[in-house]
């Protein structure tokens, strides 16, 4: 029993965080929003870091890492509000294809030459596919209606929900950071607004929500990786808590920004809108609560102090 990340996992996460912080700041999001949403140079950078091949087995040209590493990187993608379809293809589609034994495309995916947007019956549209375009509130999400019926495979849903949860905690972290930084520099009544307790306490509540959403995400990643019977309910746990934390932080962050927060100029809106989108994707709150309900009230899952890791 050791609920910590390995040094390798932490180093990898930090290197991705630093890379995205250095190359993918808010100015990039603004530029993408004005100029077509995608930039091959950004994608190429992710490919060169090996991220498209993160979960591709080594014999197919990837790094052969697991869902815990992928969840950690997905959280960094959320923090940077990355719009390129890395998570969908590399962290959702790849493990699903591997599970199904469909290995043909893996080398091309690892090389960054192939995108695999997968629809699920719960969200029959996909980002970065071809089909009838749909407009999302998130200006950087290139949604299209998928022409064929989506899959109803629960493993696919779990992968999508897990990786959305991971992005949501990263998004929440970033929004809290933006709100805190703004609260330090905006002055009213002769002091930074961040000195007012009414704001401090709201921001502290966001920190609490995020702190207790993260371990649920990591635990879900480990459970799905290990393939235990109860993995699905842990994924639902992650999705509900991460979604709640992100939505709370989004609403708090806009409040802390005042009217600034209500503009298209302040970058916060990219993160907020991505949070709304991911909160509903891959099973919305009601859907995941229902799965928790069946496990907890329905009795499918043993509960109580001695069943922490059931």
């Amino acid at each position: 029993m050791d609920f910590r990340f390995s040094d390798d996992q932490l180093t990898l996460t930090e290197s991705v965080r630093d890379y995205l912080a250095g190359t993918h700041g808010p100015e990039v999001l603004r530029r993408l929003d004005e100029q077509g949403n995608r930039d091959p140079a950004i994608w190429q950078g992710l490919v060169e870091m090996g991220l498209t091949g993160l979960l591709v087995p080594e014999e197919h040209g990837g790094l052969g890492l697991g869902l815990v590493e992928a969840a950690l990187i997905a959280a960094e993608c959320g923090r940077a509000c990355l719009a390129e379809p890395l998570v969908d293809t590399a962290f959702v589609a790849v493990p699903w294809l591997v599970r199904r034994g469909e290995l043909g495309d893996l080398a091309a995916i690892a090389a960054g030459e192939r995108l695999v947007p997968l629809p699920h019956v719960l969200n029959p549209w996909v980002a970065d596919g071809s089909g009838q375009p749909l407009q999302s509130v998130d200006p950087l999400r290139n949604l299209v209606m998928f022409p064929a019926a989506g899959s109803s495979d629960p493993y696919l849903l779990d992968l999508g929900a897990l990786m959305s949860s991971a992005q949501l905690v990263g998004l929440a972290d970033a929004m809290l950071h933006q709100a805190v930084e703004y609260a330090k520099i905006r002055t009213q009544f002769g002091q930074p607004v961040g000195a007012f307790q009414a704001l401090k306490h709201q921001l502290a509540s966001c920190a609490v929500a995020i702190e207790f959403a993260k371990p649920a995400v990591w635990r879900a990643a480990q459970a799905l990786q290990d393939g235990g019977e109860s993995a699905s309910v842990h994924v639902s746990h992650a999705k509900v808590t991460a979604g709640d934390a992100a939505l709370l932080t989004a609403e708090t962050a806009i409040q802390v920004h005042g009217a600034m927060g209500y503009t298209y100029e302040v970058d916060l809106h990219f993160w907020m809108k991505r949070s709304w989108a991911l909160n509903g994707a891959w099973g919305d709150r009601a859907w995941h609560l229902k799965r928790i309900d069946q496990a907890v009230i329905g009795g499918a899952l043993p509960i109580g102090p001695e069943h922490t890791f059931a």
Binding site: V68, A195, K200, L203, A213, V296, I297, H307
Partner: protein
């Protein structure tokens, strides 16, 4: 990350379970907050100690088992699984014990820790004063040096267990000219010392849970001072860290409550509201999250890490979670919620628990103060009044 128990950890769980199941009181004890219940709880402390289960993480020399924090969590899970009573000596074993281990001399460790682990000496915490609650640095009670003694004069209040306990610990102003955090000293004292008057205070539920302490020239030997004279504030902050952080409220306690809440809901499913159903699910969601977080913190500490202001995140989470779970139970119980005993004679533990849960956001540093700490120390926001 490895979220599985080793065979040794599983064997340890089995050992704890067997012992606790064989020894745990069959009937719930009378509340700790009265003489009869207090005595029952102290007797239970001694039973625990007879099996060497007083405080499993302490070194064997002090009456522990020298186990690690994961084993401690397993112990706690099994303790609450079996419905183990509240710990009469929580202030000793969870708060003062670790503080003495960090700041005490070898002599002090040998003198105070083993009787604590054996449940022979029950401790009360005496920090708050009438004028010093959240603002603990406003403490006025004085300890004046006189040869090899301190002479204590002043008043402490809200001291849990102090109506019946044996010893107390607190911080006192040893430098009469000092202000705020300076000039305070951490002192351990025998509650039966001449000059101490205890006045029990009735709590919300009607029983005497805490007491006021009046000190009238109470003589305490200098060797009862922990760390140096004037070091009191730093030592007290470490104790408070233990209180808010890992030790005081282990997840098993709340997981057991969540499980009982699910069972209560199932029995009242037909008439309960959809809001109650969602709250019941939140009980599982949040208690599990709390447990994972605790395992993560324990793993970090075992690897040499520390927790600082993060303890405030913890304190807010468990206290608001506990209140939410009990509030939900009261709503599910509906008209029956007000009864101290149900028609069948059973004590309404949800009512007792609800009342107690209302104190969680107040004691161990109010949640407002915790939110200040998070905002200022973790998030880096400016202090109040800064310009």
């Amino acid at each position: 990350m490895d979220l599985t128990y080793t065979p040794e950890q599983q064997a340890f769980r089995a050992e704890v379970r067997a012992w606790i199941e064989a020894h745990v009181p069959k009937e719930p004890l009378v509340t700790l907050e009265c003489r009869e219940g207090y005595d029952q709880h102290v007797a239970w402390e001694r039973t625990l100690a007879s099996g060497n289960w007083g405080m499993v993480t302490w070194p064997e020399a002090y009456g522990g088992r020298g186990l690690d924090l994961i084993q401690w969590l397993i112990f706690e899970e099994e303790y609450f699984r079996a419905g183990g009573p509240n710990r009469a000596n929580q202030n000793g074993i969870f708060l003062l014990g670790p503080t003495i281990m960090e700041f005490g001399t070898e002599e002090q460790k040998a003198r105070f820790l083993p009787p604590m682990a054996r449940g022979e000496v029950i401790w009360a915490q005496a920090w708050s004063e009438p004028g010093a609650g959240s603002d603990m640095a406003a403490i006025q009670s004085k300890a004046v040096r006189d040869g090899d003694h301190y002479v204590i004069t002043g008043q402490k209040t809200w001291s849990s267990r102090a109506a019946f306990a044996d010893w107390g610990f607190g911080i006192f102003r040893t430098d009469p000219d000092s202000k705020r955090h300076k000039g305070l000293t951490f002192i351990l004292f025998d509650l039966n010392s001449p000059g101490i008057t205890r006045r029990p205070i009735r709590q919300l539920h009607g029983d005497t849970g805490f007491a006021e302490l009046f000190f009238d020239e109470v003589r305490v030997p200098v060797e009862n001072c922990l760390a140096g004279e004037g070091e009191g504030w730093n030592v007290a902050m470490a104790t408070a860290g233990f209180e808010r952080g890992l030790m005081l409220r282990s997840p098993g306690r709340f997981q057991a409550t969540a499980k009982r809440l699910v069972e209560l809901y199932r029995a009242h499913e037909a008439e309960a509201s959809p809001a109650a159903r969602e709250a019941v699910l939140q009980a599982w969601v949040q208690t599990q999250a709390y447990a994972y977080n605790t395992y993560a913190v324990a793993s970090k500490i075992m690897a040499g890490g520390k927790i600082g202001a993060e303890a405030s995140l913890n304190k807010i989470f468990w206290s608001e979670l506990d209140r939410m779970m009990h509030r939900t139970a009261m709503q599910i119980l509906g008209a029956h919620a007000e009864l101290k005993r149900f028609g069948n004679g059973q004590i309404n533990q949800w009512l007792e628990g609800y009342i107690f849960s209302l104190s969680g956001p107040i004691y161990a540093g109010s949640n407002e103060v915790q939110r200040n700490i998070i905002a200022e120390r973790l998030l880096g926001l400016p202090r109040v009044g800064a310009g």
